[in-house]
């Protein structure tokens, strides 16, 4: 068992466990903290797969900014909203959801286990090879080259998206 395989299994179990924690904790704060933990484990996955930049960005943005925002709101609403199971009006939902979830996971796993092979023809070749670029120029350069050469338009559109989101938040945030 190589190091990578070992780390993979550890990380896999850990991330699944913390994900379960997200949905199982009664307290919203605990759920948020679980999610942060899951995000960190996922960042470690990215590291293992060689996407350094993405891993750091994940921690910085997702865990660092988005989850902080989440925690703000959770603690703001925590005093009023207790996720106590006062009265679940559709108790059958959770069982069906659980069953369906198991079915989904099983089917997907089966499909992925038997079906996914890398088609060598789809691999990037020559100058496009990520590993080439990474080895020659470094990780961030590789990411930047790909982003601004191939994905410049989506990049600009996302900036537009962010502006819209800010405006939306401002509008929604005003007291009526």
């Amino acid at each position: 068992m190589t190091v990578i395989q070992l780390s993979f299994f550890v990380l896999a179990v850990a991330s699944v466990a913390s994900a379960l924690g997200v949905i199982l904790f009664k307290n919203a704060v605990n759920s948020a903290l679980s999610l942060i933990l899951t995000l960190i484990f996922l960042a470690l996955f990215y590291l293992q797969l060689g996407a350094m930049f993405i891993a750091i960005v994940q921690i910085l943005i997702y865990a660092g900014a988005i989850m902080v925002l989440f925690l703000f709101v959770v603690t703001m609403l925590a005093s009023e909203a207790d996720d106590t199971e006062l009265h679940d009006r559709i108790p059958w939902q959770r069982w069906i959801a659980a069953i369906l979830g198991l079915v989904l996971v099983g089917a997907l796993s089966y499909l992925l286990f038997t079906g996914t092979t890398i088609d060598n023809g789809a691999k990037a070749t020559g100058g496009n090879q990520l590993s080439q670029v990474v080895n020659s120029q470094g990780n961030i350069q590789a990411f930047g080259l790909a982003l601004f050469y191939g994905f410049a338009f989506p990049f600009e559109v996302t900036s537009l998206l962010i502006i819209v989101a800010i405006l939306g938040a401002m509008v929604l945030g005003r007291r009526a």
């Binding site: 369906l100 989904l104 089966y110 499909l111």
Partner: protein, 669 residues
């Protein structure tokens, strides 16, 4: 020969269209101008054609103008050629003169009679429609357009009978007329189908568009064949409906609900004679179907006698005249049944004169009495309505068959030909028919003079005050239409009396074109000679002088007897006593025919309709549409439960779909 029949057809059509579209807005003089123009110009053109015909040699007196080819199919499997054309020969020329001439006089009369009626313009537009339809009927050169004209006169009759459509009795009478007429139309249609199947053409004679005609395709070798008898009987069924013979006569007495000029024109002088015309026109068919012709004669005489008996007891003056019309039409069919078609047509023309006169005179009486039609409430009018009195007398004498008035000549010809047929080997049944004809003549004289004395003799038995309340007027048989003062009984205005006088003159001299064989001039018979070329294949043996004198003498005697009895009973006025004699009641109630038909036919059909409504419609409504609605409602109620409002349920639904897709792929492998 100048054939102006297209113009004769066009004038009343234009009148109808103009009055129908804009008549409501026109002033009264203009309406009259259009209406009188429509009928009068038709009469003018008919007269021109008639006189030009008199000026052409006998052999050239037919003209077949094909105006329009409607359907032309040369497919050898289904050859079909239908064209519209107008046929002018002595028969149709005579009919045109009668229709447009008497029609024109009645148009003039109606101007006075219908004065003040809010539907003035509508009346004249319908009258012009009728003239158009009747002209179409008699001048068509093929059976199909005969049928068109036939149906259109039925329509015009319906519209005019129900002219005062706010009165329920008038509407019911119009419906009855239409229903009975349609039964006849059915017969005519079947006859046309059979004719077409047999001969592949529908026009009477070969003309510009078709090489053969029905009457040239019938050969004497086909005599007695069942197909011909069937066609003839179907045609005759149509005649019984249109000319009010047994068994389809019952609409005519009810048709008296219409205004009196309508009764005069349509139900006396012209429309009801369409049946007589049809038998005359289709005489080659009837000649080769002797059974059918015999049936025509028998039904004619039975109807004549039957209607005469009913007329004996009637109290409404228009009803008496209606039954007398049915009776006289029976005479015409009797003549045609005895192979003497021109005698039937001759009686048609004289009957048009005196019957129209009788109806118009009755109308003058009704007009003078503010709508009264019951004989019991009349009397003593001889001094106050002089012109009506004298013209009515002339007409009554004419219809009773008293020489030298018109009715004598024509009725005598008919009776003579019946006796001639009997003695010359036509069959002993003609003796019976002759006797029935004589009986009818006697009864006719009796009840007509009963009517005459009832209206004019004795003292006035009506309401002394002729001003009625509005409710009483509504209960009247006809709404009041006198615009003058209500308290005096006065003669009608000249616009009404002048046609009376003209018709009276015609009733006097109209018979002089008859047969003079009686007086030792066997070759002098202007009317018959005029129509001879039409009925060229029929050879009527002129009876011996003795037979003719016998028939004539007996008929005059019988008529005088009838008048005498009537004078004895009613000469001093009509004193009505309720008579509970059961036979009297039976006849008074017209042998209860209407009541029997109502019970046998009308009520079951109504019951069937109600049952169908209840079961078919009710069940269809209940189960069908409500069922559909219930099903939909149930489905939507069930589906509505999916809309729980909980977002989580909707998400679950999405997940279910996703899982299904993925499982599908997993299973498929």
């Amino acid at each position: 020969m100048i054939n102006l029949s297209p113009l004769v057809l066009l004038m009343p059509l234009l009148g109808f269209i103009i009055l129908g579209l804009v008549g409501r807005a026109l002033p009264r003089p203009l309406i009259l101008a259009v209406a009188w123009g429509g009928c009068g110009l038709a009469f003018l053109f008919a007269t021109i054609s008639f006189f030009s015909m008199l000026g052409t040699p006998v052999a050239n007196r037919t003209s077949d103008l094909v105006l329009y080819t409607w359907v032309s199919s040369n497919d050898p499997q289904a050859p079909l050629l239908i064209s519209f054309g107008q046929f002018l020969d002595p028969l149709s020329a005579t009919m045109l003169m009668v229709v447009t001439g008497v029609g024109f006089l009645i148009h003039i009369y109606s101007a006075g009679y219908m004065e003040g009626d809010p539907g003035f313009w509508r009346f004249f537009s319908f009258m012009n429609l009728f003239i158009f339809a009747m002209v179409l009927l008699v001048s068509a050169d093929n059976f199909l357009f005969l049928l068109v004209g036939w149906a259109l006169v039925g329509l015009a009759s319906f519209l005019l009978i129900g002219f005062w459509y706010t009165r329920r009795s008038a509407v019911a009478a119009a419906q009855k007329a239409l229903v009975v007429n349609v039964i006849g139309d059915f017969g005519l249609m079947i006859a046309i189908f059979l004719l077409f199947k047999q001969f592949s053409v529908l026009n009477y004679f070969p003309n510009g568009s078709s090489g053969s005609g029905v009457f040239t395709a019938i050969t004497s070798s086909m005599k007695g064949q069942p197909i011909l008898t069937a066609i003839a009987l179907c045609l005759f069924l149509a005649c019984t409906a249109k000319s009010a013979q047994l068994p389809l006569y019952m609409w005519l007495p009810d048709a008296m609900e219409g205004p009196t000029p309508v009764s005069a024109l349509i139900h006396a002088a012209t429309m009801v004679t369409a049946g007589v015309y049809l038998v005359a026109r289709a005489y080659p068919l009837f000649e080769l179907a002797p059974t059918a012709l015999l049936i025509v004669a028998v039904i004619g005489s039975v109807t004549a006698l039957f209607a005469a008996t009913i007329a004996l007891c009637q109290l409404d003056i228009k009803r008496v005249l209606a039954y007398s019309t049915i009776s006289q039409l029976g005479y015409m069919f009797m003549a045609e049944g005895a192979h003497n078609y021109s005698a039937g047509i001759f009686h048609l023309t004289t009957h048009a004169y005196f019957k129209a006169l009788l109806f118009l005179g009755a109308g003058a009486v009704i007009h003078a009495l503010d709508g009264e039609q019951d004989m019991r409430k009349m009397g003593g009018l001889s001094q106050r309505l002089r012109i009506t009195y004298f013209t009515f007398l002339i007409a009554t004498l004419a219809i009773s068959g008293i020489p030298p008035f018109a009715g004598f000549w024509s009725k005598d010809e008919i009776l003579s030909s019946l006796l001639t047929q009997a003695t010359n080997g036509g069959g002993s049944i003609f003796y019976l028919l002759w006797i029935m004809g004589l009986l009818t003549a006697g009864l006719t004289a009796f009840y007509m003079f009963r009517l005459f004395f009832g209206i004019f003799n004795g003292d006035y038995r009506g309401n002394t005050s002729t001003s009625r309340t509005h409710e009483e007027l509504l209960d009247e048989e006809e709404p009041s239409h006198s615009t003058g003062n209500h308290h005096t009984i006065h003669e009608a205005p000249p616009v009404m009396t002048v046609p009376l006088i003209i018709l009276a003159v015609l009733s006097v001299i109209g018979g002089f074109v008859g047969s003079y064989g009686l007086f030792g001039l066997p070759n002098v018979h202007p009317f018959t000679s005029f129509l001879d070329p039409v009925f060229s294949t029929v050879h009527i043996s002129e009876g011996s002088l003795g037979v003719q004198w016998l028939s004539t003498g007996v008929s005059i005697l019988v008529a005088l007897l009838g008048i005498f009895v009537a004078w004895r009973m009613y000469g001093r006025g009509f004193a009505y006593k309720e008579n509970s004699n059961p036979i009297y009641q039976l006849v008074l109630h017209k042998y209860y025919v209407d009541e029997i038909l109502n019970a046998i036919i009308v009520q079951p059909i109504l019951w069937l309709g109600r049952a169908a409504t209840r079961f078919l419609e009710g069940d269809t409504l209940d189960k069908g549409s409500q069922g559909v609605a219930l099903a939909l409602r149930g489905t939507s109620a069930g589906l509505r439960r999916l809309q729980t409002g909980y977002m989580r349920n909707y998400a679950l639904a999405i997940l279910v779909g996703v899982v299904l897709i993925i499982v599908y792929y997993a299973v498929r492998g």
